[in-house]
Symmetry: C2
Subunit: 361 residues, 2 copies
Amino acid sequence: MSRTTGTVRIVGAGLLGASVGHALATQGVDVVLDDASRATLTLAVDYGAGRRARPGDAPGLVVVAVPPDLTAEVVAAELAKHPGALVTDVASVKSAILDELRDAGADVSRYLGGHPMAGRERGGAISARADLFLGRPWVITPHAATTDAQRRAIEDLALDLGAIPVVMSADEHDASVALVSHVPQVVSSLLARRLAEAPENSVSLAGQGLRDTTRIASSDPELWVQILGANAGPVVEVLREYRNDLEHVIAALEAPDAPGARRAIAEELAGGNVGVSRIPGKHGTSRRFSQLVVLVRDQPGELARLLTEIGEAGVNMEDLRLEHSPGAQVGLAEISVLPEAEARLLAHLEAGGWTIAGAFA
Amino acid sequence: MSRTTGTVRIVGAGLLGASVGHALATQGVDVVLDDASRATLTLAVDYGAGRRARPGDAPGLVVVAVPPDLTAEVVAAELAKHPGALVTDVASVKSAILDELRDAGADVSRYLGGHPMAGRERGGAISARADLFLGRPWVITPHAATTDAQRRAIEDLALDLGAIPVVMSADEHDASVALVSHVPQVVSSLLARRLAEAPENSVSLAGQGLRDTTRIASSDPELWVQILGANAGPVVEVLREYRNDLEHVIAALEAPDAPGARRAIAEELAGGNVGVSRIPGKHGTSRRFSQLVVLVRDQPGELARLLTEIGEAGVNMEDLRLEHSPGAQVGLAEISVLPEAEARLLAHLEAGGWTIAGAFA
């Protein structure tokens, strides 16, 4: 049984909107879908994400799931069209939308912003799944006019979708996502950009470090221009601090043998060690795991065989990465386990004939 | 049978040196190990990476595998001690070492530098494995005095270790690794550094994008200060271009509604798209794969069961990533397959009762 009751209207039937609709509809909630594109709407309805609007629909909750640039305008229209409804959204910026609504004279007492941190921002109803929000933070940003009942309604929505409600102010949200999402996007894109005109020979030496660091650089520029533009203030603030650190490194490397130069670089790198250790890992902990690196031949079923043996050893993998080298017909599976399980697993796998390419604490 | 013949002397019995020794020794090569640390040497000998030096040893090849800061000094000493030997090294910078040797008056006609791109620079003989170099590029950097026979000897060494020899000049090498390895390290460390003093609430919103982008920020500062210091020129060159792009983004975000601002940001992001598309994937190709995201309960054996079914479907995984959300008792397995196999695998997994959280081209 869902916590959310009554009719929920979802405006925007792309990845996020259709995923919300699908998850609620499978729990028996009456979901009304709307989308500016007839084709997108049809796809989402066929997919089971909700029904088309009918005259007389009286939604208690409206979820606006349109691109960030359009969010405030659509929220304002929905507030006007449905005077009895609480209106929320899923845009990845929050203060700018609230400001825009206030400037437009909208009734913000019925608007409460939200932001599901739902991983990839890749698109279309066809990718929508009920599980998109499972275990992800769903930020809710109350303002001065927000009531407890309104906050609980959006918390219920998040809980119905399997997400974890996190309440903070719009400003705190924007500063946080600037730091953990928007600036990483800029940093990664600018790094990848350096490869655009690099000699083939240079790029051919790329390893896993570069691949990881630039993975998100393949994101959609159009969407990200909207996000960065709408959160420009907080993003610039972090980017300026980043630039200051970068200037220190450049200055130190321009005279690497000058007194203090190496210490300056070491301090920047050590600061990175501290920062990365604060990122929560699995289950919200920042606990460190031991890694075993195992050689896996590049054949169907080989990795399954490995993981079956790990299961037989009674060891739970905390994380798994498969790494391929260009030109190689083998992969390296990096398996993270609790430190106390490492020796047991190592012995078990070696007994099973696996080649252990490394073991790291 | 190894291509490398005669006695090989390895100076420095840490991860790289012991791995080279172990791989050669298992192929029957006479490997002599040396290390400034008696404990490290004992560990590596016990591990099977070679034998201790004896009076009268006459190595034809010396491999210097000491930290970058010490490499030139040790190479020079080995050139003097073994006048019949070709001396190579494994340091991740090349021009600075050659310059230092010339300045010191060493006989560089018997020195030919190398750099195995062997992934993690994590340490100690205990992690050393014969497979460390398998399928990885091994850069060889001939200079004016290098003969074909010398180049072939180091190519043979690389091939004996399963690596792929790549020949380029020391300058080209240094510019290449600045781009694909050293600058990504700086960029990632500086990004992670922004998290060091961030509020707990902000860091708790971190997702997979941030985790990927900052993964290498946990690298050893001491080692990286040496690497960056020794390759300062090429690194600064790339960092300056990076800084210019960063300045453009900051300027555009300081006035995001000014004419041209959004286009400027979009161009930077689109440049990142181009750059990341050039990074070679598995088997040296930059072919794009389709991804299926499958929900996996967090229990021993669940992932094995999934991969067994993938094997049964006759589909070869090109890549696999397991992603955990903080607080969630489920993981998301992102499986990359050839585009033509996607629909078949999707149908097979859905028939097997798996929850597909997404499908992306």
